[in-house]
Amino acid sequence: MKSLFHHIMLTLVALICLVPFLWMLSASFMSPGESARFPPRFFPENWTIEHYQTLFDRLNLSRYFINSVLISSAVTLLSLLVNSMAGYAFAKLRFKGKETLFKSLMAALIIPGQVTMLPVFLMLKEMGFINTYWAILIPGMASIFGIFLIRQYALSIPDSLIEAAKMDGATDFQIYRKIILPLCKPILITLAIFTFMGTWNDFLWPLIVLNDQDMYTLPIALANLMGEHVQDTELMMAGSVMTVLPVIILFILLQKYYIQGIMMGGVKE
């Protein structure tokens, strides 16, 4: 009885999460104007795939998809490396001024990033990175939040492990490579997913730094779809499906590792 109620609650929350997506999917197959009816329709009366055809005809969808995958993967890999190294240093290396440095980084976290947009843009221009993927990769490679996340996690790795390795003559790099990285796997996977999604979904920055339409990412293509005056809801829904679906599939494929990662949290003690 208790279990039944528990699962009803779980299902209810799941429905709230899912209904918008299901409705989006359903509306994307409706014929034009069908979604603008009262009462709202949950299933198409006349199924049509015309919106998807329009998308593929008008948009170079596969191109934008590859671009998005490429950029997001590159940013994720690079930022994992850079942030995990820094996180390890803040957690386990001993040097003068460590606490002060870390605290000032934390303080920097509360500055709204938008204020840096124009200066960063002008700097990238000087460096010759505008209209290249470097303009997305380089500013995205270190994140204070990522460093913080990894440092918190690495702190819980017992010093005794590291000291034992040092006794055996391991260098700092070997400790990072052989002890820290494997033990931090859960948090690394978590950070990887967050970084990947963040980059995948970013719209404004890629639009501003990329001048070549062939280099556009999916969200920019979607934003382009939104005409100023005409609201083709069904077409927009199809566009949203195409933007959201790859991430969802990727997430579902990865979630095994991801959840495994969280299960490994027990190492902490």
């Binding site: 008008r58 124009l118 843009f121 002008l122 221009k125 505008i130 209209n131 719209f203 404004l204 639009l207 501003i208 001048n211 070549d212 339409q213 920019i220 934003a223 382009n224 939104m226 005409g227 100023e228 005056h229 005409v230």
Partner: protein, 424 residues
């Protein structure tokens, strides 16, 4: 047959390699939203006429077009040419990034100045220099319900302010629960339009001070507020969520809007009303018909940094040809900026577009300074909303509006001094 094949292949290969040897000149062209998509269909015609030229059209979403363009200019990564909303031109002139076009138009057949509507062309001219060529035009006219007008005793749309007021009172009498005209306080365009009609320059002293408390604007503002205060227009614009529905129900019967609403009205009004709605030019103060409306739309501009100014200008000329303008209208529904295009049968046959044609002979520009959009959206709009909500009286509004606008324009007054542009 077999013997010819190698030659065909060779010829083909030569053709390919030849065309590769010929240097391909690339023109970079930025266009916004739907226009960016539609214009692509016109490009092959231009490329055919100009072998060796490739036009790279980049679509920029409207939502972030402004940010994108200014950052590009600030960093020198702007394209050769771009679509630019009329009201954005002053900003890019302030950035000193646009090329003056006067010497070019005088020698051009396709983009000669007299081919365009003078009121629209004027929005592209700052301090005597022409910076853009109108690409398509946009203005507001009156959309109205003929049957409601008839019941109120009017067989024609109002031509003067007095007629407009009289008509609205009569409509209100027919059904006191409804209203007559829609004047949403969050759309500054209505208020500025009537201000311009009354002869207000909106800003004065080389657009460095507000002219809202001068008699002209105050007269127009008082006239419009009369509709809101006397319940001839719905005072709370949030009550109206769907203008088509509101028009259908007769909640109001006059709505001032642009050409994009013609297809919407055709689509969304029910069948029995399809013959009962119409468009008409705006009424004006005594002795002036049509009264002025705003000169909207987009222009094509050339950037100083362009490496191919000659070709860029050629492309602008191509897009200004009557035939190309008509093709663009067919693709996008955007109204041609070239007067000659309007003599095409498409326009002569369309009863709804006639009002736009007459209106385009009397369109005026909003003040041509970079600060204008900020003034309009963040000041005119806010103060108007406060007047409608009766938090301020009309007198208080116009004075405080001037004060607030003068604050924004402090920098402009300093800039005029510094650059020696102050006229005696």
């Amino acid at each position: 047959m077999k013997k010819i094949l190698p030659f065909v292949l060779l010829a083909g290969f030569l053709a390919v390699s030849c065309s590769k040897q010929e240097p391909v000149t690339e023109l970079r062209f930025w266009a916004m939203g739907a226009e960016g998509e539609k214009v692509k269909a016109l490009i092959p015609g231009f490329e055919k006429e100009n072998p060796g030229v490739k036009v790279n059209v980049q679509m920029i979403p409207w939502t972030a077009a402004h940010e994108k363009l200014v950052t590009a200019v600030a960093s020198g990564t702007e394209p050769d040419l771009s679509q630019l909303g009329n009201t954005w031109i002053p900003e890019f002139v302030a950035l000193e990034s646009l090329m003056g076009l006067d010497s070019l138009t005088s020698r051009s057949a396709d983009a000669a100045e007299d081919r365009f509507f003078p009121g629209v062309l004027a929005t592209n001219r700052l301090d005597g220099v022409l910076y853009g060529i109108p690409w398509y035009v946009d203005t507001r006219v009156m959309f109205y319900r003929k049957d409601v007008f008839r019941k109120a005793g009017y067989d024609h749309p109002p031509k003067t302010w007095a007629e407009l007021r009289d008509l609205c009172e009569k409509i209100k009498k027919q059904n006191p629960k409804n209203f007559a005209v829609y004047l949403p306080a969050n759309e500054w365009a209505h208020f500025i339009t009537f201000g311009l009609q009354a002869g207000s320059p909106i800003l004065k002293d080389q657009d460095s001070r507000g002219a809202f408390s001068d008699p002209e604007y105050k007269k127009a503002f008082t006239f419009l507020m009369g509709f809101l205060y006397d319940s001839l227009a719905p005072p709370r614009f949030t009550d109206v969520t769907n203008v088509y529905q509101a028009m259908e129900q007769g909640y109001f019967s006059i709505y001032m809007s642009g050409p994009w609403n013609i297809p919407e009205f055709k689509k969304r009004l029910p069948a029995h009303l399809q013959d009962e709605w119409m468009t008409a030019p705006l009424p004006g103060p005594e002795g002036q018909y049509p009264g002025a409306s705003l000169a909207g739309g987009s222009s094509l501009v050339m950037f100083k940094n362009s490496k191919h100014p000659g070709l860029t200008w050629k492309l602008i000329g191509y897009l200004s040809r009557t035939s190309v303008q008509l093709e663009f209208f067919n693709l996008s529904g955007d109204l041609p900026s070239v007067k000659e295009a309007w003599q095409d049968s498409v326009f002569l046959a369309d009863k709804y577009l006639q009002a736009f044609r007459s209106q385009l002979d009397n369109v005026k520009s909003t003040p041509k300074i970079p600060e204008w959009e900020q003034i309009a959206f963040s000041r005119v709009q806010t103060f108007t909303e406060m007047t409608v909500a009766r938090k301020l009286t009309i007198d208080e509004t116009v004075y405080q509006l001037d004060e607030s606008v003068n604050q924004i324009l402090e920098k402009r007054r300093w800039y005029l001094q510094k650059t020696g542009k102050v006229k005696p």
